[in-house]
């Protein structure tokens, strides 16, 4: 399964927020969150910190931010 790396969701510049815990991530990804994300979808939009609507199917997931659209894995 391809899970977008939380450090690259926003492009070359690290996104401001951790997509798992929603805390600031300007200084880099949170190691514990990055490890947990191997078996979890994102919950927060890494660009704006909004909680996303996440749906998980047996073979994939989608997460929608009202502002920044849909992410899939």
């Amino acid at each position: 399964m391809s899970v977008p790396d939380p450090t690259t969701v926003g492009g070359d510049v690290p996104p401001p927020w951790c997509d798992r815990c929603g805390e600031p991530a300007r200084s880099g990804p949170h190691p514990a969150c990055a490890a947990a994300r191997a078996l979890e979808p994102p919950r927060f939009c890494a660009r704006c910190r909004r909680r996303m609507k996440v749906q998980i199917l047996p073979a994939g997931w989608s997460a929608v931010c009202v502002e920044h659209g849909e992410f899939r894995g």
């Binding site: 399964m1 047996p58 997931w61």
Partner: protein, 331 residues
Amino acid sequence: MPEILDQARAQVLETGVGLDEAGVLAVLTLPDEHLPAALQLAHEVRMRWCGPEVEVEGIVSLKTGGCPEDCHFCSQSGLFTSPVRSVWLDIPSLVEAAKQTAATGATEFCIVAAVRGPDARLMKQMREGVAAIRAEVDIQVAASLGMLTQEQVDELVDMGVHRYNHNLETCRSYFPTVVTTHSWEERWETLRMVRESGMEVCCGGILGLGETVEQRAEFAAQLAELDPHEVPLNFLNPRPGTPLGDRPVVEGKDALRAIAAFRLAMPRTILRYAGGREITLGDLGTRDGLLGGINAVIVGNYLTTLGRPATEDLKLLDDLKMPVKALSATL
């Protein structure tokens, strides 16, 4: 060989009568050096009373989050500061989930909703969803929608739902520590109605909620008394924001002891790996459990967390020469 394993061999393996609470406790407290023998015996019991087939299932959340209940392990309770948002799955996505499940060779597809019990909207969504799945996908449909009324039980039977999941989660004595918004007895009442309706009863729980080893044994004995068709065994995956979010995960060896003990308590049940096995057991432990009493798996993703790819589990079953139960064998 510890006495309990000799007793279990004579009683469970030879006659098919499960261990009682004291026997389960003796297995749960076996020293590490006897764990391989306990797993080996549990495997023999499973092969003798269930056979080599493994039942494969996929699950999906029809309604996620926003639950009014307060099960302290659950990221879908609306009472905690969990990041899981409330969302409904539409019917095309539900059918797609069933297709993804069927594509793995699975025979079971369980539709789950995070509710205390179904309301009219959920029952309508179920009716439409189950009909759409049955029209397009060759798979048996199960459901897990919380506590039911007798009318809802009858409706689910009418829709063609063949199995109903409702977990007791933990033993009766520990339940009030984990859930305060409803009782263990209310859950038992739903299970009683499901049993009487002719639907298959699926009932298990989660280990690692802070229960003592004695309470783990109590739980196995209470499940054995219920005698469910299937027992899904979860290991706590501590969820951020929940009251149990900081609990440690169950030790791999304790998880394996529990697998063997639950199998020795319930020689004929479908004992299924459910959530948490990835973090508790890893790949090696997963294999040990399949050779220690487990005879069913959930493949693919879970409700709010992800599983390992179904292909990895199917390859493991193939390596272990355990055939996936076919749909023809379940009808």
